[in-house]
Symmetry: C2
Subunit: 207 residues, 2 copies
DNA sequence: TCACATCTATTACAAATGTCACATCATCTT
DNA sequence: AAGATGATGTGACATTTGTAATAGATGTGA
């Protein structure tokens, strides 16, 4: 089974390689660091499965997946996600991604990989559980209530750098009050309690 | 060159293995997850170098190093540290540890390993730079001003899990006020501003 | 145009956080 | 015993943070 791994954290990429190659018949043909590399690597190696981080520096895993799937609709792509990327799941599904896993539980990556090879689509349990109403799609879930906007994401990342509301306001040319509103909304959406939990959550998710 | 790696993060341990074995003549004989395993593994494999995380669940790398060095004074132990463990350096030196490296720059781990094998003692540049007055030891630096106690470290780790002062107080059987004092002191020692920065700092250091 | 959503902002308020000065108690040192 | 040390605690205080209700400005689609 030929795999290509794309993750912008070199440590994670090599750790994944190690973990994967512990499995029978698994060979990591190549690893890349960014979504922009993913397409090239796919063309070059035509792996059985492409394992890719969804959040990367330049080109996101999601965008890369879209590209690749438009060129190779049969491609089997498994996205590695983190807590805070829930809102991409719908898009990923539309594009035809074959699975969506939490990076955290690396023990489930190998089984998922094999499952995908047999044509299945795989989602980590934690992921399913965080998407209320995913399988009653017809009913029309109000996604807006859960989606995190670009700006909100920016705010989160600044919180996770330890900036105060005032500093974030300066950074984004907003008033401090607006930043507070943003954060209040984010906390509401994520179910977290305060900025520290948000930072912790974000940083833990980011790998 | 026979190495034993001990790190309680399985991902990191396997990543280190991968990185190390990319080097010439380097073989990771075994990996362990905790300080308590370190002594056993050392006895069993007598590695040329023992590479060990300083901060681990049960038995810290520092304690394990002390143990091992009292039984095998010739042992070459290289501790992997993070930002927030600066205060252990002095102890580590007293015990006779052969080096102290930042986990972050994994590119320097392999060279350091070889240097240690030739009898040298190695310290990452960032580490040296963070120890004011290390080489004017005679003058007597007041380490207490910089040292972070076990309890403080515990508090920090709870902050980095997103707990509130009240929750931390409950967890550690202290009053909320005392926890506030602890955190205030910690912020003073570290030069950080608030609990969020502390959490961010700690989490970023922890890899 | 009307209705609606989005982004930004303001206000007032409640709660959590951080700082500081000081108090208490046990332990260790001399 | 006297003094120093360290861990814990308290109270007062200023600041920051989070919540809620509300409103203007802007854009978009029917």
């Amino acid at each position: 089974m030929k795999i290509v791994v794309v993750d912008d954290d070199v440590l994670v990429a090599s750790a994944l390689k190690t973990i994967l190659e512990a499995g029978e018949d698994v060979k990591v043909a190549a690893t890349g660091q960014d979504g922009s590399e993913a397409l090239e690597l796919y063309r070059q190696y035509k792996p059985d499965v492409l394992l890719m981080d969804i959040r990367m520096q330049e080109v996101s895993g999601l965008d890369a997946a879209k590209e690749i799937l438009s060129e190779y609709p049969e491609a089997r792509i498994l996205l590695l996600t983190t807590f805070s990327d829930d809102e991409y799941i719908v898009k990923a599904l539309k594009y035809g991604v074959k699975g969506y896993l939490l990076k955290q539980d690396y023990t489930s990556i190998l089984p998922a990989l094999k499952a995908v090879c047999t044509g299945q689509t795989v989602f980590g349990t934690e992921i399913i559980s965080r998407i209320p109403g995913l399988f009653k799609e017809e009913k029309g879930v109000d996604w807006k209530e859960y989606e995190i906007s670009e700006k909100e994401l920016k705010v989160i990342s600044l919180v996770a750098e330890g900036l105060s509301n005032k500093e974030i306001a300066g950074e984004l040319f907003l008033s401090e009050g607006t930043v507070r509103n943003y954060i209040s909304n984010i906390l509401d959406k994520t179910g977290l309690r305060d900025r520290t939990q948000l930072a912790v959550h974000y940083l833990n998710a980011a790998r």
